[in-house]
Symmetry: C2
Subunit: 190 residues, 2 copies
Amino acid sequence: MSQPVDRFEVRLAGSGGQGLILAGLILAEAVAIFDDRNATQTQSYGPEARGGASRSEIVISDGEIHYPKVISADVLLAMSQEACDKYFYGLKPDGLLVVDSGLIERVPSSRAVEAPITRIAQETTGRAISANIVALGLIGGLTGVVSRQALQRAVTARVPEGTVDMNLKAMVAGWEKALEIIERGGVGPD
Amino acid sequence: MSQPVDRFEVRLAGSGGQGLILAGLILAEAVAIFDDRNATQTQSYGPEARGGASRSEIVISDGEIHYPKVISADVLLAMSQEACDKYFYGLKPDGLLVVDSGLIERVPSSRAVEAPITRIAQETTGRAISANIVALGLIGGLTGVVSRQALQRAVTARVPEGTVDMNLKAMVAGWEKALEIIERGGVGPD
């Protein structure tokens, strides 16, 4: 993604406790502070937040961002079945759906990228909680919306003290997985 | 603020590293998850973020929130002179300006609440970094936009492990300061 970006919308959706808000912050800071674009990152809390759902929306542009919420997503990361079902129809027709195949049974598209995100986190770092950062690496590698270096710097700047190495490993594991998927020619079950 | 809220806009502005993004998350989660209203919380990153400025915007409503950014703030917290100068004109005419009097020399309004937020943090917890949570307590106590209990629960849920007690102390110190200011009849230098 070295060409100018007019407006690129990412939605991360799943359950509370999966760290998707932190992931959204990191992605926005990576592209804006380290990759020199503009970005906004928004959380909206309504009744569904009280039910345990969580989502973060990131808008990336080289120009000014007039409306900071997702209108029609270029990328949807779904980390729960509920999130997948709810937000799939908010994805652009040619948008990228990325799902955690260990958490989601019914994938509404045959063109989705299905990767066992939480399992990769568990196997790479010993901690399932780093799945959010695996997902960021995966999205970065698949889309090129953020440079690998910027994402590394933003992860380093934002994750809790003492967890930087673990989270960088998680990020690299996600990025490598993306390259493997691209090499294989793409989408569908892992 | 027990009557219905149509739209209440809060802007927290200062420098990177002051924890204003975390503070914004906590305020939004307090009102939405624990006080049962709706809320959005947005960060926007542009050239000023690369210069070290930081801001978080929270919109609170009992109805649907169609536009998640601040249009005309009801409350501005300014934690740097630059932020104060830049965002003062985005405050409603009867809006509340809260400044850290230890960090800001030129206050553009005689009706501002000036409190030594970072000094209170340092004196209460021994750590200036808890100034963001002192500020939340102060805003909560001054405006009633969030209940004390909801803010306590949101602080507890969101701050890093091992810092809950420190941050609850900081929050209470800010809240007590607000009550003292109200009792004194208000605004102006501390």
